[in-house]
């Protein structure tokens, strides 16, 4: 129905009252711009939080042992709880668990250890890990590989190092195949990784050396101890529920009272994530509704102007009908004008909004990782959706005026006084 020809018809009638058309378009323009800014602000808030959580599986649970706070099963309070290798299999067998990564860290959580390569020396974290850890922490492998099953089975003295370790110990040289020394033990570098995490957390991650878990226990004489567990649930498994079952299992295995919250501590990234997701879902809805309302205000403006325009053009519409315009053609003409007006204003708003948002994103990108907002963006799918909404809004705005126009009686319209 819309071809070059009807386009020409629409354009001439819209440009007949330039100022009025422009003012009406301005309403739609502001409506869509506000809608856009609202939606992208929501996205910006969300990505601001998410960048803090980047670099870890969104459904990860972390657990570590502390001291019991109440006596249980004949054992006294204040007894240290230490996880061990025998916990690994039962955890893996727990329903809903996907990955289990027992970890050991040399010198404790976030400690610096002296690591040497030739004459170069640095202080880094050293961790004993299973291959599963890569599915929880999700390092970005830059060169070589991560720890594999054979490394675990053969207790190989290999190391996968963070980017900062690589640059500080090896400078520009390729670290793969090179040796480094931790507490007098030599490891061969088999992989280098980066991270998605930003800020302090990201810095920590790339200052870490991962060695096979079994090798770690043997080399650093940690027996069968596990400093902490990282695990993830399968898709669709409720993070909160899984966490409860993991606690129950470990409490039973280590003779901790079921009511003792202090003995085994944990952090549920999944629950945290779900909570923020829920909050952002609500924020998105509120912002989206406000945005849509402002667009609606623009649409009402269009509808109003089209009503006035139809009234003014009673004679013209009468002439058109007398010359053979069918009611559908009249309805189509008015609706097409409303859609055209909305679309043109909307596209200008999309362009201006995208420009403003890109500028804002540039500014936010320079704010550093701890700025609470992430860079806002206008996705292609948003643009497609916005166009669809504009067409719908335009059609809706044109509907009542169009029906009015179609109902005009040519005899009445053309009566000569």
């Amino acid at each position: 129905m819309i071809d070059v020809d009807s386009f020409h018809e629409i354009a001439t009638s819209l440009t007949r009252h330039k100022l009025r058309t422009a003012l009406t378009a301005l309403g739609v323009f502001f409506g869509l711009t506000i809608f856009m800014l609202m939606v992208s602000f929501g996205g910006s808030l969300r990505s601001g939080i998410n960048k803090k959580m980047a670099g870890f599986a969104t459904n990860a649970v972390f657990l570590w042992g502390q001291r019991t706070s109440e006596p249980y099963a004949g054992l006294p309070a204040n007894r240290p709880v230490v996880f061990d290798n025998d916990d690994i299999e039962p955890l893996r067998k727990l329903a809903g668990v996907e990955y289990v990564a027992p970890r050991n860290q040399l010198g404790g959580f976030r400690a610096g250890n002296v690591v040497k390569h030739g004459s170069k020396v640095g202080a880094f974290q050293v961790a004993g890990d299973y291959p599963d850890f890569q599915f929880i922490s999700m390092p970005l492998i830059r060169a070589g590989r991560y720890i594999n099953d054979a490394d675990i089975a053969d207790r190989r003295k290999v190391a996968v190092i963070g980017e900062s370790v690589a640059s500080e110990l090896f400078g520009g040289a390729d670290p793969i195949g090179q040796a480094l020394e931790v507490n007098g033990i030599h490891f061969v570098v088999v992989g280098v990784f980066g991270t998605r995490a930003t800020g302090q957390q990201g810095d920590q991650q790339v200052r870490t050396i991962h060695v096979p878990f079994t090798t770690f226990q043997q080399a650093f004489h940690t027996g069968n101890r596990v400093s902490w567990f990282a695990l993830t649930g399968k898709r669709g498994v409720d993070a909160k529920d899984l966490e409860q079952r993991v606690y129950a299992l470990l409490r039973e295995r280590h003779k901790v009272a079921p009511t003792d919250d202090a003995a085994i501590r944990g952090f549920n990234a999944g629950a945290q994530f779900a909570k923020t997701e829920k909050m952002f879902g609500a924020i998105d809805i509120v912002l989206g509704v406000f945005g849509l309302l402002s667009l609606l205000a623009g649409a009402i403006g269009v509808s109003n102007i089209m009503l006035i325009s139809v009234r003014e053009r009673t004679k013209e519409i009468g002439v058109r009908k007398a010359l053979g315009a069918r009611p559908t053609a009249v309805v189509g003409m008015v609706i097409a004008e409303a859609i055209m007006l909305t679309l043109v204003a909307g596209f200008i708003a999309l362009a201006v909004g995208a420009f403003a948002i890109a500028k804002a994103a540039d500014r936010i990108a320079t704010m550093g990782p701890d700025f609470p907002l992430g860079p806002p963006e206008v996705s292609f799918s948003f643009s497609v959706m916005a166009t669809a909404i504009l067409i719908a809004v335009g059609a809706l705005a044109g509907l009542i005026p169009a029906v009015r126009a179609a109902a005009i009686s040519p005899v009445e319209a053309l009566r000569d006084e």
Partner: protein, 227 residues
């Protein structure tokens, strides 16, 4: 060509009905030029609007060729109007924001004829009414006579079965009226059926036949004369 039998038309005015056309019988042959005369308010425009499928009637039959024009949907009425009827109005009713050629081409737009083709055709029709040089002018730049010529070209462009004109010279001075009437006569000589409403005897004189309306009734015909 067309036949009206016992056409009755009422208008609701407040609570009572105004009987505007009473048992109107009328037959017009193809190629005829017929004038309708009568006092103001006698129902001439109403009759013409019914002939032009712009208005409905309440009783009787209207045959246009072998098509019964009755109880048509709006869409169908518009299609017949577009195909069968050419209209000329007293106040021209050109669209002011369109050029002469665009105005003439408008009926073809509603037939789905592509722009180029309909503008080319429109130019031919403008040429027929002697206004080829005015193709790109808007109505506001033209005299009354010129506007009415554009309107006549617009009425002819769809090659209708009849051309209907409601007081086409009513807004023109006598010299221009003469020219416009000569144009109608010329069109009629090409075989086109023309029905026009007028209250000027010298205008009606151009027609082969005059029908007189009085209070919605057709008066017995006087002697038919050719000019």
């Amino acid at each position: 060509m067309l036949r009206l039998s016992k056409i009755n038309k009422y208008y609701a005015v407040g609570s009572h009905r105004l009987h505007v056309l009473r048992d109107v019988d009328l037959e017009v042959e193809g190629g005829e030029m017929v004038a309708i005369m009568g006092a103001s308010g006698s129902g001439k425009s109403t009759l013409l609007n019914i002939l032009g499928i712009l208005d409905r009637y309440d009783a009787g039959e209207y045959w246009l060729g072998d098509t019964l024009i009755r109880d048509l949907g709006e869409g169908q009425a518009a299609r017949y109007r577009n195909q069968f009827i050419g209209f000329v109005f007293q106040s021209f009713n050109l669209l002011p924001f369109k050029t002469a050629v665009e105005n003439v081409a408008l009926p073809l737009y509603y037939q789905g004829v592509p722009r180029r083709q309909r503008n080319r055709t429109a130019l031919q029709y403008l040429d027929k009414v002697g206004l080829a040089d005015w193709a790109d002018h808007r109505p506001a730049e033209m005299s009354g006579g010129q506007k009415q010529r554009v309107a006549i070209a617009r009425a002819l462009i769809t090659k209708p079965r009849i051309v209907l004109a409601d007081e086409p010279t009513g807004a023109l001075d006598s010299k221009t009226s003469e020219e416009v009437m000569e144009l109608f006569a010329e069109i009629n000589r090409t075989g086109m059926t023309v029905i026009l409403v007028t209250h000027e005897a010298d205008v009606a004189a151009k027609a082969q036949r005059t029908i007189r309306l009085r209070d919605g009734k057709v008066e017995p015909e006087l002697v038919a004369r050719a000019s």
